[in-house]
């Protein structure tokens, strides 16, 4: 769950350019393997939380408006769990 939060936060706050973040950039930020991040990105695109944008060389990812809503809610519930000394 925290990986999803990290990916969405990166695509919202730390995108290197307007076309979105590349897979390599997201791997570096989330610190997970290519195989694992590919599956997560596929799910996030299917759920409508991320938008896939094509660039000349590789796929890039941008956060969608639904993704922004989700991230806001995720942070709220993470805060809720943290008040109990727990991790979401």
């Amino acid at each position: 769950m925290s990986i999803i939060g990290d990916i969405l936060t990166t695509t919202r706050d730390e995108v290197p350019d307007e076309t979105g973040a590349s897979v390599t950039y997201l791997i570096r930020k989330a610190n997970i393997s290519y195989g694992r991040i590919s599956k997560i990105l596929e799910t996030l695109v299917q759920q409508g939380l991320l938008e896939q944008t094509s660039s000349d060389r590789a796929c890039k990812y941008k956060i969608s408006s639904r993704g922004r809503e989700f991230l806001q809610a995720y942070r709220g519930f993470r805060e809720f769990a943290e008040t109990f000394g727990l991790r979401i």
Binding site: F77, F80, I88
Partner: protein, 211 residues
């Protein structure tokens, strides 16, 4: 009059537990987080437990008119609440709670057995231990994150533990005000658990898909 107060207090407990449970469920529905699922079960159990005892008092007041709640209903309600306390403690990793050494086990086990004259005693002592464990773990978390809201949760769990202890003690002095004080303490405890929730920044959650 005391009976009416007990009904009100139990229904307040039902309401507060339900609100926190619904909040945790909304979180689980949106994020699919197992932690929020456990908190949902915990608070819905606590809420149902209060509800069962409150309903027992209500039925007794308005239907049976015996002036004394059925022990079975009381035990059932407290038992359901204990399930809730277990899930709060379980979320912190209950495995680390049980001592491994034989010596510690020989000390810890009688804590469960000595008050075993009735099921209610056993359930209350288990609740107390689970809540104390939850309180300690939450205080430990506060030491790490230094969030003021965590202190409210730790105080809430501590007050619930105190309430359980007083509830157990009220069995020794059945006609004293200890039971009312016990329920009141538990309600204040639940209230303290609810304090951080309005501070959580949640606005306009429209989606319901589980990620």
């Amino acid at each position: 009059m005391e009976f009416v107060l007990e009904i009100i207090l139990n229904l307040v407990g039902f309401g507060v537990g339900l609100l926190i449970g619904i909040f945790a469920y909304t979180g689980f529905k949106n994020t699919g987080s197992p932690t929020l699922f456990r908190l949902t079960i915990a608070f819905l159990s606590i809420s149902i437990g209060f509800g069962v005892v409150g309903l027992g008092y209500t039925i007794d007041s308005f239907v049976i008119h015996s002036g004394k709640i059925e022990t079975g209903i009381q035990t059932l309600g407290i038992g359901i609440q204990t399930v809730g306390y277990f899930f709060i403690a379980f979320s912190h990793g209950i495995k680390s709670f049980f001592p491994k050494s034989r010596y510690l086990k020989s000390i810890a086990v009688p804590l469960f057995i000595i008050p075993g004259n009735s099921i209610e005693h056993i359930i209350r002592s288990i609740s107390f231990i689970l809540l104390v464990y939850g309180t300690i773990e939450t205080i430990m978390s506060y030491m790490e994150n230094r969030k003021t809201s965590t202190i409210f949760v730790a105080s809430g769990l501590g007050l619930l533990a105190l309430g359980e202890f007083l509830g157990w003690y009220s069995v020794v002095f059945p006609k004293s005000v200890l039971y009312v004080i016990s329920i009141s303490t538990k309600i204040v405890g639940l209230g303290a658990l609810f304090v951080p929730i309005p501070k959580v920044p949640l606005r306009g959650i429209k989606f319901g898909g589980n990620v």
